[in-house]
């Protein structure tokens, strides 16, 4: 057996054993990935190669700055009461369709700005869960709505961690920048969003009369001025992504931090400075585990390149069309997600995009990221559902959630496959 395969098996064994021992608990994911990178380095007889283990995460650094700053902004906005005001407006709609759409957008908003489904669960999840529970919606459907909303938010632009992971994998030596993904991700996820909206409006949303009460913010009649930072940030990010050649406002980290400052000046409810500072710190720490997992995945990818695994992979896929290799690995990501949630699927995503090379077509990369997102959604343990259960105390079963999640999942994957197959023709989406 070739040495590179033995190294890959050693790394894989650590991932599988770690996943089995810790039952895929999210808190152990960064540690398991780090141990896998160390195991690969040791199996190659190179000792503890700190340089590669430290170098790997740098490929994701700029993208993760956006993620962390997005979450800081969301936390400041949430703790200042602005999102409560927005929610009370969203939940007030009379028609089931309009209410389903508003609540889905509210559920997706944190994921859009931070790229992580966990943000949606932490920020919007409690309000949406309480609203649906109060209206008498079955626990499985509450879980389904929260999980799918957070998942779609993660996949919607501007920030999307699965696309950031896939984009990084395209580079052989230099990481591919996360740019030009706004329209591809929007076109990829919008059909799935609309499909679930139609489903949720009929099967999840209760009729308006069964709503039991208004939220505290509605009763207080708070000023809408507190929503100005959110509107400005959304406008700035959209303009910057749609017209990158003409509009540059400092990138997402700068926009989000400026939005945080403005939000501190325009809160819905006055708070002591100490609480505001705590919100900033909490925001940075909220996505600690997803960001650490991505950084640790960077170490795994770097070690697998160092030990020759990526070279062997390049030689092995030469006879095949890049799209065929991508589709095969996208197919493998789904069972990998079922077994281990993020770690193995993330590793496969990096390899799936590799055949199209550096400065890869963002449409194809976005298509590939659909499989990574789906893998995290499908995971019975260690995925989005586990986060929803642990952080929100939801008593939803995997089957109950998947009973409604299959539709957006299938639509998203179908769009992802089309993006991979017709990526060149869809280049018009890259601005």
């Amino acid at each position: 057996m070739r040495e590179e395969i033995v190294i890959a098996l050693a790394m894989l064994a650590v991932l599988l054993a770690g996943g089995a021992i810790t039952k895929n608990q999210r808190r152990y994911t960064p540690l398991i990935l780090l141990l896998s990178a160390i195991a690969g380095s040791l199996a190659a007889g190179m000792g503890l190669r700190f340089r590669e283990i430290v170098e790997g995460p740098f490929g994701f650094l700029d993208a993760m700055l956006s993620v962390l700053c997005g979450m800081v902004f969301l936390r400041v906005l949430h703790d200042g009461g602005a999102l409560g005001v927005l929610f009370s407006r969203a939940a007030r709609r009379k028609s089931r369709g309009a209410r389903a759409l508003c609540l889905m957008l509210f559920m997706a908003l944190p994921g859009m700005l931070s790229g992580s489904a966990l943000a949606g669960i932490l920020i919007s999840g409690p309000l949406v869960r309480d609203e649906l529970r109060k209206a008498g919606v079955h626990e499985n459907k509450v879980g389904q709505f929260v999980v799918v909303g957070a998942f779609l938010g993660m996949m919607l632009p501007p920030a999307c961690i699965p696309a950031m992971v896939a984009a990084n994998g395209a580079g052989s030596v230099l990481p591919t920048p996360y740019t030009g993904f706004f329209l591809p991700l929007l076109a990829l996820t919008l059909p799935a969003f609309l499909a679930y909206w139609l489903l949720a409006a009929r099967r999840v949303m209760p009729p308006a009369q069964s709503r039991t009460g208004q939220t505290e913010e509605t009763r207080a009649g708070t000023s809408l001025l507190c929503l100005l930072p959110l509107l400005l940030v959304l406008a700035a990010v959209t303009l910057e992504n749609l017209f990158p050649a003409r509009v540059y406002l400092g990138g997402m980290p700068v926009i989000c931090l400026a939005g945080s400052l403005l939000s501190m000046l325009l809160p819905a409810k006055k708070r002591p400075l100490r609480d505001v500072l705590t919100s900033l710190s909490d925001g940075a720490a909220d996505l600690l585990l997803p960001v650490a997992s991505v950084f640790a995945l960077g170490a795994v990818i770097e070690v697998s390149s160092m030990t020759g695994l990526r070279g062997l992979f390049s030689a092995a896929i030469l006879p095949y069309a890049p799209a065929a290799v991508m589709l095969a690995l996208m197919g493998l990501m789904l069972p990998a997600g079922l077994a281990l949630a993020f770690p193995l699927a993330g590793w496969l995503a990096a390899y799936a995009v590799f055949p199209i090379g550096w400065m890869a077509n963002a449409v194809m990369v976005a298509g590939c990221s659909a499989a990574l997102g789906a893998a995290v959604l499908l995971a019975p343990r260690g995925g989005i559902l586990t986060d929803a259960r642990e952080r929100l105390g939801l008593n939803a079963s995997w089957r109950g959630v998947m009973a409604g999640a299959w539709l957006p999942l299938t639509v998203l994957l179908a769009c992802g496959v089309c993006f991979v197959l017709f990526g060149d023709a869809l280049r018009i989406l890259i601005v």
């Binding site: 740098f58 400092g250 909490d282 600690l288 960001v291």
Partner: protein
């Protein structure tokens, strides 16, 4: 500009490190802080 943002995030995360933190979270914290600190210091 990104150096300053990285430094700010390191400070915010370090503020959390003072609280009681189990080992897996501590490792995750280190994994996030290390590259951010190197970027803040201009090493990378």
């Amino acid at each position: 500009m990104y150096f300053i943002i990285a430094a700010l995030l390191v400070l915010l995360l370090l503020a959390r490190a003072g609280k009681k933190c189990p080992l897996p979270e501590l490792i995750a914290l280190f994994l996030v802080i290390a590259p951010l600190a190197l970027r803040a210091l201009g090493v990378k």
